[in-house]
């Protein structure tokens, strides 16, 4: 535990993010998982090949986008469990629009708008109700799962034309487009958190909502904006995943909510809010990708993988309580 040392009279301490002793606890899991990765890499050299690493990035790109959005919600003391179902709805909106209009541009617009609107609705419900975001978004998640099945009629909506050509097949300098999209999302969220009033308000509301209110921050409006922003990211992820799969599926977002929240928490953002970084979230996303990839390489079955993911999430949350 580091203790604050007085620097009275000295000029401003510019190192804002210096790693404090107590922060170390929050990154314990990150460190442990890194060790696992190192061990796997030693056991199977193919693990760290450029091809495999690129594959991992491609695999986690949609997750990375959703988790970027989720990061600011957790920082603000919120949570959105409906992001997986919303991703399905956004993806189906894209696929259906392309199917009916033949326009990829309209399809992209439909997906992004759908995600954004769903987020805004979640935000309004959370901001105006006393129920916790967990319960409210659990409700909207169930609702949206039903909507996704109704939209698709129960079967995939296939064929996305140019969207597939770009996100499913295309690359730039050997890097698939969805990977660029993920890093762009991380960058956008980094900028929002660090350089905008919206980001600052998210930290303030998550750290002490009453203090934020007494400082004149329009807490409700900010909450709605944050959920809408996260929804925008979900919409983008939905569009990209639809392109990757060349189809919209009612189950395409299933499980994304838990993995996204796990990535954020592994990345050091506490569930109680008030602090956190999107760079940490990127670390969490990459680790989830690395772990599942290493299990694939080691021939671990899907059910067992799910159990391991569950253990990781549980460990992340338990370690946070202590930190």
């Amino acid at each position: 535990m580091s203790s604050p040392t007085a620097t009275a009279g000295k000029p401003a301490n510019r190192k804002l993010g210096g790693l404090q002793g107590r922060d170390l606890g929050r990154y314990t899991l990150l460190i442990v998982l890194l060790l696992i990765v190192v061990v796997t890499a030693i056991g199977n050299p193919r693990f760290l090949s450029v091809n495999n690493l690129m594959n991992i990035l491609f695999q986690v790109s949609a997750l990375g986008i959703v988790a970027s959005g989720q990061t600011i919600l957790l920082i603000a003391g919120g949570l959105d469990l409906s992001v997986g179902a919303a991703l399905s709805v956004a993806g189906l909106a894209t696929a259906l629009t392309i199917m009916h209009t033949g326009s990829v541009a309209l399809g992209i617009l439909a997906g992004v708008v759908a995600g954004c609107v769903i987020g805004a609705i979640n935000g309004m419900l959370v901001a105006t109700n006393r129920a916790t975001p967990f319960i409210i978004t659990l409700g909207t998640m169930t609702f949206l799962q039903g909507v996704a099945i109704l939209m698709s009629g129960g079967s995939p909506i296939n064929g996305t034309g140019a969207l597939f050509d770009v996100f499913g097949l295309g690359d730039f300098l050997g890097v698939p487009w969805p990977v660029y999209a993920m890093f762009a999302s991380i960058l956008v969220m980094f900028v929002v958190l660090r350089f905008t009033t919206l980001g600052r308000y998210a930290f303030a509301i998550g750290g002490n909502e009453e203090a934020a209110r007494l400082s004149g921050i329009p807490v409700r409006r900010i909450k709605i904006a944050l959920y809408a922003l996260s929804g925008l990211f979900v919409g983008v992820a939905g569009v990209i995943l639809t392109g990757v799969l060349d189809s919209g599926l009612p189950s395409m977002g299933t499980g994304y909510e838990l993995r996204a929240i796990a990535a954020v928490v592994i990345g050091g953002t506490p569930l109680i809010g008030g602090r956190g970084t999107v760079i940490g979230t990127l670390g969490g996303v990459l680790l989830l990708g690395l772990v599942s990839n290493s299990m694939n390489l080691l021939g671990v079955g899907a059910n067992f993988q799910s159990a391991v993911l569950g253990l990781i999430i549980t460990a992340a949350v338990l370690l946070q309580k202590k930190a």
């Binding site: 600052r200 002490n208 203090a211 400082s215 004149g216």
Partner: protein, 506 residues
């Protein structure tokens, strides 16, 4: 009270320090069975600490507590309960979603066997117990549907069910109306008649005098005296509570030309507890507001600060313009900055840095179309830290690492940076060291000298006298008295706060 009755609880030589500050110094205390024992003292005299030690919430540094024939170096809450000590707070810690009966029998529910609860037997036994205590409460009602007075009665009934023989009551009448308070006094007397030892802690000296067999007075952590309730009078109590103030309280009032009215309140009433308050405060004036808990001082601050805005009757104006804030941010937009007493819970964002806390209420002035000017923010925070002598001068340091005094300065800095014209403060120096208190007072005087208006709520007599240009004493939501602090000594002020409590006690 004759002392040949057996003692229910005896405290010997209890001492407790916090961070080198003596909160309690070698305190002896005893309550006989069937006695109602009042405990009085100023804020900070050690009452709360003493109650915590009695209830087992905190261990003393030294001394012992003898209860039920056993001497304890320290009690934990479970031992306290087992020894028959029960504490009832002004807002009882009960389960609002459970029924009255379920609350009374929590942890000792009657069972039919195999772990099945016997709700009928529980309700019947609860009814019987309540009837025995003369309480008329619906046993199957959800507790949350009852008012505070009823909840308090449930808490007391629960204590009786747990076979408590020492009952600690902490400011029990703070949230009660006159009829409810009188009912409570009858209940306390009945319990005492049946052998219960009652410790009654309150700022309402009239109540303490009326109900107590004996009264212990604490001052600066020491026991000053124990007096018989029958022979004591209020003036005597007040002088013992305040003590001889050899040095007159230092005041630093500078002659300020009285200027035009800034805040004008006209017949303002609020559901929060204001009743027809009219008040004019000029620019550059410092007004201290005080009174007993629930008297309306905090309600006044809440209305001015824009926190309490629903169903506020009457009218206000600020700088000559109508002023009716419908949210805190509307008040801030008019230059009215509320600074809460509870800085950890309501004031500061502990996970953020000094700079980010100082800028929080005025980020608009540090941003352009939503983009923050981070370098300017750091400069502003550095400047403010220097102005307020806030240590350490490290704008990036999280505020949770600061001392209480520096945390209060950061809060004040936020209000100043938000371009405050009217500062509304609650207990501006509570819990800070003497040096920080002096500095904060100086800063507030400095702000007033530059034309700001300051309204502060305080229960610290010396602070009121030292800082205020005039002191308002509120009672039952009304301005009961207006005092000039010149040549006012703390005893007179406390008398004014305590006089003619309209809540009659028989």
């Amino acid at each position: 009270m004759t002392l040949d009755t057996p003692l229910a609880i005896q405290v010997q030589g209890v001492t407790k320090s916090f961070l080198g500050q003596r909160a309690l110094d070698d305190v002896d205390f005893e309550v006989a069975r069937g006695e109602v024992h009042g405990l009085v003292g100023k804020n900070g005299a050690g009452k709360s600490t003493f109650m915590k030690i009695l209830s087992g919430a905190q261990p003393p540094d030294s001394g012992q507590i003898i209860v039920g024939g056993t001497a304890f170096k320290a009690l934990n809450p479970a031992e306290g309960r087992a020894a028959g000590i029960a504490i009832v707070y002004q807002n009882p810690e009960l389960h609002l979603d459970l029924s009255v009966a379920a609350n009374i029998f929590l942890g000792a529910e009657p069972r039919k066997g195999f772990g099945i609860l016997d709700d009928k037997a529980m309700a019947a036994r609860a009814s019987e117990l309540l009837a025995r205590l003369g309480l008329n409460l619906p046993v199957n009602q959800r507790l949350g549907d009852l008012d505070i007075a009823d909840r308090q009665q449930v808490a007391i009934a629960k204590a009786v069910r747990e076979k408590a023989h020492v009952l600690l009551l902490d400011e029990p009448t703070a949230a009660l109306n006159k009829a409810q308070a009188e009912f409570l006094f009858r209940l306390i007397r009945d319990l005492a008649r049946q052998g219960m030892a009652v410790v009654y802690v309150s700022h309402h000296l009239d109540e303490v005098l009326a109900i107590s067999d004996r009264i212990t007075i604490l001052r600066n952590g020491r026991k000053v005296a124990v007096v018989e309730g029958r022979s004591a009078d209020k003036d005597g109590l007040i002088s013992m509570i305040v003590g001889r103030t050899l040095d007159a309280v230092e005041t630093h009032r500078s002659e300020r030309p009285k200027s035009e009215p800034f805040l004008v309140m006209d017949a303002v009433s609020s559901p929060g507890g204001l009743d027809d308050v009219s008040l004019t405060v000029t620019k550059g004036e410092i007004v201290g507001v005080t009174g007993l808990i629930g008297g309306g001082a905090n309600a006044l601050a809440a209305v001015i600060g824009g926190l309490d805005h629903r169903h506020v009757a009457g009218s206000m104006s600020l700088g000559g313009q109508p002023y009716a804030p419908r949210a805190v941010r509307e008040a801030i937009a008019r230059g009215v900055l509320f600074i809460p007493e509870d800085m950890r819970g309501r004031g500061l964002v502990m996970s953020l840095s000094i700079a980010k806390n100082i800028s929080l209420a005025a980020l608009k002035s540090l941003s352009n179309l939503g983009w923050l000017k981070l370098a300017k923010e750091t400069d502003v925070a550095t400047e403010m830290s220097e102005r307020l002598d806030l240590n350490p001068r490290a704008p990036g340091r999280e505020v949770r690492f600061l001392s209480g005094g520096n945390q209060r300065k950061a809060l004040l800095g936020r209000a100043i940076f938000a371009d405050g014209q009217l500062f509304v403060l609650e207990e501006p120096t509570q819990g800070v060291d003497v040096e920080s208190q002096r500095q904060i007072h100086d800063h507030l005087r400095g702000l007033a000298a530059k034309g700001a208006t300051i309204v502060f709520v305080s229960t610290d007599l010396e602070e009121l006298i030292a800082l205020a240009d005039r002191i308002l004493v509120l009672r039952d939501g009304r301005i009961e008295q207006e005092l000039s602090p010149d040549r006012l000594d703390p005893q007179q002020l406390l008398s004014a706060i305590q006089t003619q409590s309209t809540r009659s006690v028989n």
